[in-house]
């Protein structure tokens, strides 16, 4: 009897769950339909409104259209973003030098004056949802809302990593080297996380990258140091050239590779000797980086080293050399020697690159 009772209870329990699921499903589906209809209607209205603003015959009518748009936006950030995006899309159809482009650009500023997007995003900072908060911080930074900088600094130390990350990204847009560095240093022991983050921060950083690097170099561990060197290498910061030269012989493999890559990016003839030595390194990553650097130098010795790398035992170095060679001043005779020579590796590598290059020229 006990088992039968249990089975009946189990059955009733299942029925209740199914009922709840169906109710939930129905409600969600209904909400989704409502949302779809509302979004469609709003999109249409916003589109008309924005067109009204763009093509308003007088300044007064334009102002009243913008005010009507502000009413439609009703402190909703999604509607605001949609409106701005329609104007931007229309603007981008014109050339940057066109008068229409400039007009539409100014129009976004006028919409911002009346709609006040800063207050829309600021209100999101009170949300309990950390993802909304993080998003708002980034948008406030885009809008240059300096008055929220203290909030960003405070939140960049938050224990929730996503929120701290978004706050620090916002600070990067303000070029705040000190606080961005503090955030990056706080995560330096987490290698998996810090590795990718550093690139992003240097990409988005609007301040003095030399200053940011200096604070980081003074306080970071070797792993982060190698990542910073890699991240700043595209910017060719002369202030660190000497440091790269010194570190090209570093005992740390990661720092050594990063420094060679950074030096290679400079294309400085003074570094040739150093790159020549690196091109003979036992590690193929170092050799490939050095070959790339040598290809930027306009010297017969550099050309000879790149040609030599065509015979490297590592496929990737040979391919790098072949790619590099086509951008160097190589004589038809030399090319003929490689292609018709006994070295199959070298010939294959050059052929695969040349086939594509010749094809693209045709």
């Amino acid at each position: 009897m006990r088992y039968e009772l249990l089975a009946v209870i189990g059955l009733i329990f299942c029925l209740v769950i199914i009922g709840i699921e169906y109710l939930f499903h129905y409600r969600l589906a209904e909400l989704q339909d409502e949302k779809t209809i509302n979004t469609r209607q709003l999109d249409q209205r916003i589109k008309f409104r924005v067109e009204g603003i763009i093509y308003a015959p007088t300044d007064l009518s334009r102002k009243s259209e913008i005010e009507a748009l502000a009413k439609d936006i009703d402190n909703n950030f999604e509607t605001y973003e949609k409106s701005v995006s329609i104007i931007e899309n229309t603007r981008d159809k014109f050339d940057k030098d066109d008068e229409e482009y400039r007009d539409l650009d100014q129009l976004i500023d006028r919409v911002d004056e009346i709609v006040d997007p800063v207050s829309i995003y600021a209100s999101m900072l009170d949300s309990n949802d950390i993802y909304h908060k993080g998003y708002a911080l980034r948008r406030l930074a885009d809008l240059g809302a300096e008055e929220y900088r203290d909030v960003m600094i405070e939140l960049s130390q938050d224990k929730h990593r996503d929120l701290a990350y978004n706050a620090a990204m916002a600070l990067a847009k303000f070029g705040d080297a000190e606080n961005v560095a503090a955030f990056l240093l706080s995560i330096q022991d987490d290698r998996l996380y810090s590795g990718r983050i550093i690139n992003e921060f240097f990409d988005d950083f609007k301040g003095d990258r030399v200053e940011l690097s200096r604070i980081l170099f003074e306080n970071c561990n070797p792993y982060m140091m190698s990542n910073i060197i890699k991240a700043i290498s595209p910017y060719k910061l002369e202030e660190y050239h000497r440091m790269f030269v010194e570190n090209s012989a570093s005992k740390s493999f990661q720092i050594k590779v990063a420094s060679i890559k950074a030096l290679a990016a400079f294309g400085n003839p003074d570094d040739e000797q150093l790159l020549q030595i690196a091109a003979q390194d036992k590690e193929w990553v170092v050799r490939a980086a050095a070959v790339k650097g040598l290809s930027l130098l306009d010297s017969p010795t550099a050309l000879a080293s790149v040609k030599n790398a065509l015979r490297d035992k590592e496929w990737w170095v040979r391919q790098t050399a072949a790619n590099a060679l086509t951008s160097m001043d190589i004589s038809p005779r030399d090319l003929e020697d490689i292609l018709g020579g006994y070295d199959r590796f070298a010939a294959d590598a050059v052929k695969s690159v040349l086939y594509k290059q010749i094809d693209n020229l045709a």
Binding site: E4, L11, Y26, R196, D203, K356
Partner: protein, 470 residues
């Protein structure tokens, strides 16, 4: 007399075993679904502040090689390549590997994209059948066409890996379509956590949906019942199961239709196994095994926001062929890697995921099918109480409905209005109906796969699918 009594006792005990087994399995599924619910909700919210579009010009993004193995794919191949050319990703190459097709696959690709043969150096890091030629197009510089001798899907994938130049590669089925941002979202998994070695996306049934150039354009209910059932099935399998196993880093299957791999890891384990039809599961299990053995920290991730659309089979005959193949692939992989079973050295993979697949995914079908015959038989023979039987049957069906309907709720919660409310509710009716016939037939097909393991373990079979709209 005593023999008959023995048989009777066996039948009664086996009945109880079947019942307990079905109920336990259903409960495990329901637990998976609830765990997935929290995880999907978290991912969905997190995605809000992750404005991934910003990444399209980031230096952090890793370039990707898209490898498409093609064997007699003349209906889909050109259209698929064109669709891939519109995806939202800064740097990628498309490598179509023609695995010795006997139809016009190669000819169509060469003509459509104005390709011609080039001499190139191939880095043979995984042995493959002879490559007859590599073709390149001036007009489409990120497209390569490889013509090789027939060696099977795995061999074609290995050839694609050898030719590829980027650190990540994805294998795509010629008859599937990925959404515009799918690759971008999937590759972010490798940036967010550099331990990631494999990331799988969600595969959705495209039957009834209009997908144009990687964009969803609308849904209308597919005509055939089997297509409707498959929509429910795929939601259940991907949104509950894979999210759950990914959470414990013991996901064993990344769909062959859409997965992103760290190339070096796949090369380190020796590439795809060529003499199996379950190569997608086998490679994932081998990666788990290799990295756990070497004590290397890694992640195998499932991302439910990266979407790939595939046309499901339209007839029971094709479903039979597909499910048989899946079951054989599963069996082959589990047998090849039996050393992992209950082996604590392999952590959650050895102690949870592999045993679960042995017990519930492989033999579950056998127990379920025997139960379908034995339980009614016992009832007829008077060995089973009618009340007990009805209760068991209703419970099993209801647990199945809870699971399917739960997955539909999950889908409704996370997704982007692919169906109207009316369509969504109509689909949920099939979550009930599938328990009366379809589920049992699929179980039979799976058992057939096990029984014909030796005979069919190297046979792919061709499935007729709907074409995507032009």
């Amino acid at each position: 007399m005593s023999f008959l009594n023995g048989v009777r006792s066996f039948i009664v005990i086996f009945n109880f075993f079947c019942m307990a087994f079905t109920l336990i399995l259903s409960l495990i599924y329901v637990i998976q679904m609830f765990v997935s619910l929290f995880r999907v909700r978290r991912d969905y919210e997190k995605n809000f502040s992750n404005d991934y579009i910003r990444y399209t010009d980031s230096n952090n993004l890793l370039p990707i090689s898209l490898v498409i193995p093609a064997f007699n794919e003349q209906e889909n191949i050109v259209q698929n390549v064109r669709s891939l050319m519109t995806i939202n990703y800064p740097e990628y190459e498309i490598i179509v590997v023609n695995d010795g097709s006997t139809d016009k696959t190669g000819e169509l690709i060469i003509n459509a994209f104005e390709m011609h043969m080039i001499e190139t150096s191939i880095r043979y890091r995984i042995p493959t059948k002879n490559i007859r030629g590599v073709y390149y197009s001036r007009k489409y510089p990120n497209l390569l066409y490889v013509d090789k001798e027939n060696g099977g899907k795995s061999d074609a994938l290995n050839a694609g890996i050898n030719i590829s130049s980027y650190p990540l590669f994805t294998c795509l089925d010629a008859d599937s379509r990925i959404e515009k941002d799918a690759l971008l979202m999937l590759s972010l998994e490798f940036i967010k956590d550099s331990r990631t070695v494999i990331a799988g996306g969600i595969v959705r049934i495209a039957n009834g949906s209009k997908i144009v150039n990687g964009e969803f354009k609308g849904f209308s209910m597919p005509k055939k019942l089997v297509e409707r059932f498959q929509i429910v099935e795929y939601y259940r399998s991907f949104l509950s199961g894979r999210v759950f196993w990914s959470a414990s880093n013991s996901l064993l299957v990344v769909s062959g239709a859409f997965g992103l791999f760290r190339k070096q890891t796949v090369i380190d384990v020796g590439g795809y196994k060529t003499n199996t039809i379950g190569e997608d599961m086998e490679i994932v299990v081998r990666v788990h095994r290799y990295l756990r053995k070497k004590k290397i920290k890694y992640r195998v991730i499932f991302n439910e926001l990266s979407i790939c659309w595939t046309q499901g089979p339209m007839s029971l005959k094709d479903i039979r062929s597909q499910r048989r193949r899946w079951q054989i692939g599963l069996m082959d992989t589990l047998i090849s890697h039996r050393a992992l079973t209950f082996n604590p050295r392999y952590g959650a993979v050895g102690l949870l995921s592999v045993p679960y697949n042995w017990i519930f995914e492989l033999f579950g079908a056998v127990v379920e099918t025997i139960g379908y015959f034995l339980i009614p038989f016992s009832l007829l023979m008077g060995e089973l109480n009618m009340f007990f039987f009805v209760m068991y049957f209703l419970l099993a069906v209801m647990l199945g409905i809870i699971l399917s309907e739960g997955s539909l709720v999950l889908e409704q919660y996370t997704h982007r209005a692919t169906m109207t409310a009316k369509q969504s509710i109509s689909i949920s009716i099939y979550a009930i109906l599938e328990n009366f016939g379809y589920r049992q037939i699929v179980s039979l097909f799976r058992v057939e796969g096990i029984l014909k393991y030796r005979k069919l373990r190297k046979t792919w079979g061709k499935i007729k699918r709907k074409e995507f709209e032009q």
